[in-house]
Structure formats: C-alpha cells, structure tokens
C-alpha cells in the first residue's frame, strides 16, 4: 500500500497502517508488548544537546598530528597509537551507566523538548539531517533528494522497480504521471450531487475519542526512533502518547486527527477500488466508443475513408469553382473515429454511473502527498461504505476481477473476521521492539504470516516489484479490526513526523 516504501521516513499514516495490519493478521489475541513512542525517554536519562555542527560533523574526533577525523573517540584513540601518542580506551561502561538521550538543536522541532528527546546519537543525527538538513543526495533516476546518504542508497536500489497503481487499474512506473493521473481520474475526482461531508465528520468524531481510549501500543515510526529497549514498559502510555494535546508542541493535534481519518478511510477503501475496477471493465469503454461512433455518424458520411476518389479530386482541380465534395473528403475525420475498438482498457476506468462521492477533506498540509492521494481514495469509500461487511464483499469481487490468487485469501479473511468481534482493539503487536517500521515498510517478511498474499486495495501500492508489503495486508485486517485499531495505530505514527518533511522526502 505505501507507495513510497523506500523511504524510511514515509508518511506516518502509511506506517501505522502496516503496523496495525501486522497486529491483527494472526487472528488471535496476543499479549501486548508495549513500546515507547519515539522521543519519550526515560525521565531519568541525561539529556544531551549537541550543536547542529556537532550533529552534522561526521568526524568529530580529530587527530592533532595528521588531522584525520574519526566518528568515535575510541577509534581516534586507536589511531593515536600509530603516532605513538598516549592513548586511552574507555572502559567498558558499567551496567549502571546513566542513560543518555539527545535533543534536536532546532528550536521549532518537537524533539527539541527534552521530553521528546531521542534515545540514541545516530537517531538524532539522522533526524537532524532528514528534517533540518540539506538534501544533497539525489537519485539519478527520479531526482528524489535525500539528506542522509543511507536513505539515498536504500532508495537507489529500488527506484524504478515499483509501480503505482490507481484505483482504476492503471499502472504507473512514474510518480509524476501517477499524480497527474490521480488528479484527473474519476476514481478520485468525482464530486457532485451526493456530497456527504457529514459522513466524514461522523467518522471523525467517532474515531477520535476512541483514539484516546484504545491502548494498542504505538509502533515505532521508522526513522529517527530506534526505541531503546530499556525504555519499554511505559504504563502511562496513553496519556503521554498524545502530547498533541499539549499546545507547546505545534502541529500535533491536527495531525493525529488527520491520520485517524486516513486510516478509518482505509477500511472503506476496498470498496473504492473495486467499484472502479468492476465498472471500468464493462460500461465505460462501450459508452465511450458509442459516443465516438455517435458523433461520427452525426457528422454524416460514413463512407469508406478512401471515399474521395481521385476522380472527384481531379474534377475539382480542373474546375476550382466547383470544389469537390468537401463533406466527403473530410469524412475521413469522422470515420476514423470508429477505429477506437481495441482500446478497451481505458486508463480511466470511467463511465460508471454509480460513482462514489467524496466529501471534501480538510486541508492537510502535514501528510505526504502520496498519503494524501491515498486518502482521497479512502475518503470516498468511507462516505459510501462504512460497514466492513460490505467491504468484504468488495474484497472478493476485487480479487475475482484480476488478482485470482488473492481470492482464497480474502475468503479466509472473511472467516477470521467472523471470529473477531469488532471493535477488536489492541489485537496485539507482534512487532518487536527494534525491528521498527522501516523494516516493515520495506517488506521484511519475517514477521508476517508467510502464506499471506498481499492485496492492493487502494490501488496505490506497488503492483509489482516483488516485495510483499505489510501495508497491504494491514488494510485487509483493518477491516476486521474496525475503526479503532487502525485509527489508533495511525495516531501513533502520526504523532512523530513533521509532515512537510515527510512529503518532501516521499
């Protein structure tokens, strides 16, 4: 589902979706393992504030003899031995060594607050580079820019191997054409009489309070939060999870709500993709061509395109005052309109009369663009289709309409869903600390049920490229889990990133 799996700091909405799916795929209640929200360190830890320069410096420890720099003092000490300088390796730290946490030097950053400090030096360095640094690593293939070289390398490996898929079934290997298509595709853009903003509003107000009551543990957002295992059991999690309520931390409250919307919308979104795929197969093309045909007949002269035989031309040439039958010669224009036959599969899957309606989403500058695109698909689905049962029906039809090998799976899903009582809050979190969402997003399969095939409900994920992504299955399971799991999970992910940066890097 996440279009931009390559980037560890992709939209948190996507991240959270995968994790929620992860939780619920094994349809049994797993004891919850709690993890800390990144940036919720041990209050006893020593807070370290490094300057931007120090954070960006790659070789802070410099040899006074040869000016060679080292990332770690230990390494410099070893190096000094070569110069026959006095050197001293630190002792192995005691078990009782004081925990250190690091804050971001950027004053406006949420991680500038000691209460949101990050647990390790690498994490804060990467955070600082990604969010506040110059993006100097540029992908040759797609021009995407990265601030951290390792991000860039990871992206470069998979750039161009993935495809974007629209609800209408069209595949895109290029992000920009996908975006353009998305803006124009009926699968997204239909908006007319049956405006149902109320539905969205309701969804919101339902899911939001549930956010705060659910205690499904937060998945660690991928990038800057390799949550230190030492910080595990935080029982006051739910209260602290929502520092959003704290006005001192700008940007959080709306984001949480946004993410909630996103994810709740995901639940319904299965319907959106299928509506389109089913409708695009039949009526659309025929009607398009019918109209083409109609217009060509209207213009008259459905003769052979070669109709203006040379004799007519000759006659006309020799008698210019009596121009040849222009209607006839121009008939090639209209006739050729009939040539449209074998282009059955329209790129827009248009034409369906029972379009979904989309309520206008509020401006959400904090999401990544791709996430926003997804949301668009999801919105409409939510509007017309709140019940997960209906969504399931659509799952089946989607499977049958093209992804055959997913059919059995979705049926299995139906069964497992029956076993689950919605709202199944906090269905467990098999995501062990440390594995991190980045791995999940990258499709590391180990933690997933290996039999599980992925199903691209949104039509936004990768249709090719080989990595079964957790995000996809997450969508499916979020149907069973109901609004709450997904929404709650979303909120965790949502709390972490500055949306702008996310978008920029995605």
């Amino acid at each position: 589902m996440p279009v931009d799996l390559d980037n560890s700091s992709t939209a948190s909405g996507e991240a959270s979706v995968s994790s929620s799916g992860n939780q619920t795929v094994p349809p049994k209640f797993i004891p919850k393992k709690k993890r800390n929200l990144p940036g919720m360190p041990d209050p006893d830890a020593e807070v370290i504030s490094l300057s931007p320069k120090a954070l960006l410096a790659t070789n802070r420890f410099v040899c006074e003899i040869c000016s060679k720099g080292f990332q770690r003092d230990q390494n410099l000490q070893l190096h000094r031995r070569g110069h026959n300088l006095p050197w001293k390796l630190k002792q192995r730290p005691n078990k009782e060594v004081k925990k250190k946490v690091y804050v971001c030097p950027e004053l406006t950053c949420v991680h500038h607050e000691p209460s949101r400090a990050l647990g390790d030096l690498t994490g804060i360095k990467k955070h600082f580079c990604r969010k506040h640094g110059e993006k100097k690593w540029k992908c040759d293939k797609c021009s995407k820019k990265y601030a951290v070289q390792s991000d860039w390398k990871a992206h470069s490996k998979i750039c161009g191997t993935r495809e974007y898929k629209c609800d209408c079934g069209t595949l895109f290997s290029r992000r920009d054409s996908f975006i353009t298509h998305r803006a124009f595709c009926d699968a997204l853009a239909e908006e007319s009489a049956r405006d149902q903003p109320q539905v969205i509003v309701n969804t919101n107000s339902e899911s939001e309070p549930k956010l705060t009551t659910s205690d499904s543990p937060p998945p660690a957002p991928p990038s800057e939060a390799p949550a230190p295992p030492a910080l595990h059991q935080s029982t006051s999690l739910m209260s602290s999870v929502f520092p959003a309520q704290n006005p001192e931390i700008p940007g959080n409250p709306p984001r949480i709500i946004d993410e909630a919307q996103t994810t709740t919308a995901v639940i319904g979104s299965c319907s959106s993709s299928t509506t389109t795929s089913s409708s695009s197969n039949g009526g659309a093309n025929s009607s398009v061509f019918a109209s083409l045909f109609a217009s060509s007949t209207a213009s008259g002269s459905l003769q052979s395109p070669q109709a203006p035989a040379f004799t007519d031309l000759i006659r006309a040439v020799s008698r210019p005052d009596q121009p040849a039958d222009l209607t006839q010669s121009s008939s090639s224009e209209s006739i050729s309109l009939c040539l449209s036959t074998n282009h059955g599969s329209s790129i827009f899957g248009t034409g369906g009369q029972e379009r979904r309606q989309y309520a206008p989403p509020p401006p959400q500058p904090t999401l990544s663009a791709t996430a926003l695109l997804q949301k668009a698909a999801q919105m409409g689905a939510t509007a017309t289709n709140g019940s997960f049962l209906r969504g399931l029906g659509i799952v089946s039809s989607l499977s049958s309409s093209g992804q055959q090998d997913n059919l059995h799976w979705s049926q299995r899903q139906v069964e497992s869903e029956n076993a689950l009582a919605p709202p199944c809050l906090g269905l467990g979190l098999p995501c062990d600390g440390g594995s991190g969402l980045k791995e999940l997003m990258m499709g590391t399969p180990s933690i997933f049920d290996p039999k599980q095939t992925t199903l691209d409900f949104l039509g936004l994920g990768m249709a090719a490229g080989g990595n079964p992504s957790g995000g996809l299955s997450a969508l499916i399971t979020s149907i069973g889990g109901g609004l709450d799991v997904a929404a709650a999970a979303a909120s965790y992910g949502g709390g972490e990133f500055s949306g702008k940066d996310i978008g920029r890097s995605s």
Partner: protein
Amino acid sequence: MDTTLYTNYNTSTAKDNQTHSNIYKQSSNGEAAAIVTDMQSSTNSHQPPSQNNHTHTSTSLSCSTSDPGDQPPGTGKWASKLLKECARAISERDSSKIHHLLWMLNELASPYGDCDQKLASYFLQALFCKATESGQRCYKTLISVAEKSHSFDSARKLILKFQEVSPWTTFGHVASNGVILEALEGETKLHIIDISNTLCTQWPTLLEALATRNDETPHLKLTVVLTNTSIVGSVMKEVGQRMEKFARLMGVPFEFNVIRGINRLCELSKEGLGVQEDEAIAVNCIGAMRRVEVEERDAVIRMFQSLRPRIVTVVEEEADVSSTRNDFVNSFEECLRFYTIYFDMLEESFPPTSNERLMLERECSRSILRILACDGDHHEENNTSIESSGECERRERGSQWAERLKEGFATVGFSDDVVDDVKALLKRYRTGWSLVLPPPQQGGDNYHHHHDQYSSGIYLTWKEDPVVWASAWKP
C-alpha cells in the same frame, strides 16, 4: 524507390476503380517512368524496385536530405518528395502537374497507413484545399467534427495517454514547474496565469510540490486563460472541479479562475486577470504564443510585462512557419519537416492501432490545413469567420521567440536542479529523447563555472532534432 512508387501509381490508374493503393505498391510498370522522369527531372533515382516497400516508416528522419539518392533503397520518403513537388506546382500554378500529383498522392495516402501515408494524407488535404481555395470551408468542417467528438473524457484520456508515452508535453511542464517553483519560493500568495492548452495537466505535480515544500504552504490562485477559439473551453468546468478537488486533497489553499471571451491575448490586463498587488505572479505560456497572430506577438509580450510577473515561462514547438508565412513553398516544407518528426515520434510512442495517436494526428491535420490552406482566402472572406474558425499555429523557433522576449524580459537560466529533473523525466521514456542545452553565451570554457545555469532555454530533441523549446523569463 521513387520510381517504384510512382510506377505503382500508374498501375492503379490503369485499374482505376481501386481505391486502396497499398495493393499496388509491389508491382511495377514501365509506363510510369515517363511521368517520373517528367516530374523528377533533377533526380536520378532509377533504382531497382524496392523489396520492402512496407518498411519505409520510421528510419531516416533528416528532412534536409531532399535528394532521394542519399537515402538507402526502400526507405525513401516518397511522401515528402511528392508533397513538396505538389506544393511547388501549386505555387507555380502548374495545373497539369498539380493534377497529376494530387491524383497520385490521393492514391497513395491513407490516414491509417504508415507515416508516409499519413503525412501524404493530411498534407494532401491541405494541398488540395490550397489548390481549390477551399481551406476555410474544409477547416470549418473539420473543426465542427472535432467539436462534436470533443468531450472531457476523450480530451483527458488523450492528453494523459500522450503524456504517458511521450515527453512532448511533459518536458515543458517539468521545466516550467521547476522554474516557477524556484522563482516563487518563499512567497505566500502565488498567482499563476496559465495560458496553455493542456487541460491543467501541468498542475497536479506543482500542487504536490507546493504541498510538500519546506516552508509554509502558500495560497495558489490559478487563472486559466481561454481564448474564444480554444476547443478545450468546453471541458474547463470538469477540469476546474478536479483541480479544486486535488488542491484540497493536497492541502494547498487554492482558487481557480477561468478567463473566457478573450479574442486576443493582448487584451488581457491586471484587472481582467484579477491580479492583486500582494501576489507573486507567474505567467505560464505553453503552446500559446504560436496561436497568437504573428503581428500581435510583441503586444502580448508587452502585456506580460504589464502584469509585473516574477517569472514567465514560454514553451513552444521548434519550427518556423512564421517568418516564411508569405512564402508558400517554404512554409510548406518547414511544416512538413516538423510534422514528419512529429508523426515519427507518434508512431514510435504509441502502439500501431492507438486511437489516441489517431486523434493526435487528426489534430495535426487541422493545424496543417489551417497553416497552409486557410490564408489564401483570408482576404476574400470576412475576418470574423477566420477568427472564429480557430487559431493558426504559426510556430517560431526558440531563438526567434527569445529575440521577441528579450525586448521586455531577461532570460532566466534553468538551474541544475531543474535540468536534472528534466533529465530524469526523459530517462523514463523510450530512447530517442534527449535534452539539449544551448551553447553557452560566454565561451565554452568558463561557463561551467559561471552560474550553473543555462541561458536562452533548453531543447527537447527527438532523434537529434530539436522539437520543443522551454524557456524562462523575468522582467
């Protein structure tokens, strides 16, 4: 090669009830030689009949080679030769030659054939109308047919499909968007005045870029200017809805306006466009300047100046049917050169039976007719009918546009970032496309150190031929 084809003509004449000339291409008939040599007195192209008449589709593109002897057997460009001959005959008012050539072309041409046949078909139409002074009438018929089949769905499908398979339009979009974003960086109220004919397909990626910008998401006002004759006018309502929807989605505060009822672009004004003092203005002009009457182009540029824009982007197709507009043969040859490249590009970009390709070619046929066959009766019919019948795409070359624009603006170089974006774009299309930067103004050695910028626009080339020119300007 030529011999063969001309000969084929003759054969089909003998069996004159036949309309599908392809059937006869393989045969040869000695009788025809007389006609061939008559018309081709300057050439010595009596080559053995070609074995593969069906393959003269896509290879040699260098239209400057007018001598068929230069071309490998079997790949000769018979359409180009015949058409040029015919244009010359028309200009010389040699009616018997016109007669013969139109007759032959009609036999060979087909809008469903290969590139040569398609070119022959559409240029024949123009030549025929020119010869019979019936261009206006024919053009109106074509336009009304096109309007009847024009819908939002078809237009959208066409334009997006084209963008998917060819960078012809996306090149200008990426270059312009890059420059606009850079020029308006940090501004909070943007106003883009869009004078183009691409159904706003340029803007989703810009909206996305704005939404993910590092600084505060700015307010964007998009004002689309439609001239009266623009065929896209009827679908702007749908386009506008989608733009507004998409902007909401992206979280970009957005206002969408359409300016209609403009007969001449130079009539536009700050007031008419709703330009506010606190807005940062960008004028985006893609394929629009060539539709302006040649005499009015400088006035349009002055109008741009009066808007006090931060940036003006101009993207045009690289051909000159402007300076030669009073010289029919030259215009014809340049027009033919340009569309030969274009048709070749279409052929290689689309699958053979693509309906979109056919629609694009039909657009070309109207444009060709308008350029070549509608000026003759310009003075005979009243002016209003001409204006209402559509804009004539009198293209100019990038260097010519640059000369005009330099009167009011200074060139803005494309930054390395934008150039990289364009290169990345081209990589994703099939081979044959490349980006050409103009030679540096101040000598080759130090230009790399100079500004990291490229002056006077950049070119998209298709198989070495520059085809689209993109440029950026500031007051």
